[in-house]
Point group: C2
């Protein structure tokens, strides 16, 4: 009999998530039924969206993707040894079958990993997974970037932001990133090839943009929201396009006054901006297309990535809290096995 | 020799426009040259956008559309007696020719009036003109409304808003308007057929929307911006569409803190909203199509309108100031002759 460990969220988060909001629970798994397999987690994914997408009733199981290996199977499509990506939540062992997709809010629920060659399987949670598809599909579909245009990325040192900026460079754009430490900005410029990167905490943002984007901003990929976004939009060109991927600046903010920023509507009208929010779920039917495109760029050396890996199932909550404090550079992961 | 009177704006507006920001100047007009005609204004248009679209140097001529009659002509396409709509500014007499379009920021610069039958020529500045096209083209193109959907309109008793709500009814939508007085709300429901209308100054907006839009809001046509818009968007459905036509709540606001509202990005992401600002100029090549569609609806009795007419060239500034105080129901016009 297999004992699974899983994280349960005890109550809704108020402000920053706390350790006491979570509990690790052990669970005895049943025998495999026809068509089921048992997967053992190798890495679990820690993402800002998990803050927002929990269910309405508590306690509830923590959501999230994981890379896992099939260690027992009654499903001939998923033989022992198969590597999968699955939205099984934060848990060590899972008995499931493809049909369980209908119970899952995150799409895709389950897919086999492509052949990563010498690359680590953890990429299936980052640059060659949901995060990579968020960057690739969200940016290209919503911002419709063209060579020679100027692109701004907020949260640029995060997993999605750092990926978006590199795609923009591949497509021939001028790329400006905003991040929260000088170390992150240096990484963006020196390692990832961003043209400019500014520390939004210490930089005069308007002046920085005037200097780095003298012809104005055409595309803005926003992970942050708030006053920074208003300032970026104030320097956009006519018919500028904005993809809103996240609003991490306010996820943990409980003071209503601090959730306010200078309103966007006068800019939206006068510049005829198009702003669209998206969740990567909408592109679920293009999952493998996106993974293969990103994998190709990684293998060609055009797309670099960084993983922020913490070791051990018990480190997940600390890693999660760290996301909102800006502790991570690149994709945050927990190595379970 | 003809003496024209025109309004000159002496300096940029600070806060609410003031009478002392304007001066009426007399100007001797030259002799007509080949291809030119002399037009005498009958009505001049008073619109919120005029607040925003002045040039960068002062003093400058006040911008705006007018309905005028050709009273002298050296252009065979515009014989004496022709009625035209022209963006000539706030002035009584104008010598021009179609080629002057290149000097005008407002599109279309000039067109002949269609046959209005028994209807007044002033409609060419309202329901069958730029305002009507703003409503018809902006709403249908950007919001893509479908029968059975729920549509919210802010600034609903203004010229554009009252028109949008009626089109939404023609298209089979549930229509909710917000306006600033009970009298305006009553007009929207009793005369124009809105399903619901709320006084945003006295109503609990969130509760009002929950009651009037129990299935959520699909389309929002926004003339106002600010906290009202955040509240509307918080009750939108997945993939909701927002057309941003104006932001009159802040045009005259000089206190930066009062230009703030609860940020939209968390709503934009989680509901995957698409928000697009527009200026009717972008549809200039569809001007006559829009006018004929709106004229057809007016003649069929499906589209009602109200004109807020003040009498005399000298009343224009008062009418303009009144726009931002909510004095008008329907299209604000100045009758010159």
């Amino acid at each position: 009999m297999v004992i699974a460990k899983k994280y349960v969220v005890l109550n809704p988060f108020v402000g920053e998530p706390k350790k006491s909001d979570f509990k690790i629970v052990e669970e005895e798994l049943a025998e495999l039924q026809e068509n089921e397999f048992l997967a053992e987690a190798a890495f679990i994914s820690v993402d800002p969206y998990q803050r927002m997408k929990l269910g309405a009733s508590f306690p509830c199981d923590m959501i999230g993707g994981q890379v896992a290996k099939v260690i027992e199977s009654k499903n001939p499509d998923y033989p022992v040894g198969t590597w999968v990506m699955g939205h099984f939540g934060w848990r060590t062992h899972t008995i499931t079958k493809p049909e369980n997709e209908k119970f899952c809010m995150q799409k895709p629920y389950l897919h086999k990993l492509p052949d990563f060659g010498d690359l680590p399987v953890s990429l299936a949670l980052g640059v060659c997974g949901r995060v990579g598809n968020t960057a690739y599909l969200g940016f290209t579909e919503i911002c419709q970037p063209k060579a020679g245009e100027t692109v701004v990325v907020s949260g640029a040192a995060g997993a999605v932001g750092s990926h978006v900026g590199q795609i923009a460079k591949i497509l021939g754009c001028r790329v400006i990133g905003f991040a929260g430490t000088d170390e992150k900005c240096e990484w963006l410029i020196k390692e990832l090839g961003f043209d400019y990167a500014g520390n939004y905490k210490t930089t005069d943002i308007s002046k920085f943009l005037k200097d780095s984007a003298p012809n104005g901003v055409d595309c803005y990929f926003d992970n942050v929201g708030g006053e920074l976004s208003t300032m970026v939009m104030s320097q956009m060109n006519q018919y500028g396009r904005v993809a809103v991927c996240g609003a991490i600046s306010t996820y943990n903010e409980t003071d209503p006054e601090k959730r306010k920023a200078t309103i966007l509507q006068p800019l939206i009208v006068s510049k005829q901006l198009k702003i669209e929010g998206f969740l990567v779920n909408r592109y679920a039917d293009r999952t493998l297309e996106g993974i293969h495109q990103n994998l190709k760029w990684v293998k060609e050396g055009k797309l670099k990535y960084k993983e922020h890996v913490t070791d051990g199932f018990e480190t997940a909550v600390d890693a999660f809290i760290g996301l909102f404090r800006g502790d991570n550079i690149g994709k945050s992961l927990v190595q379970v096995k």
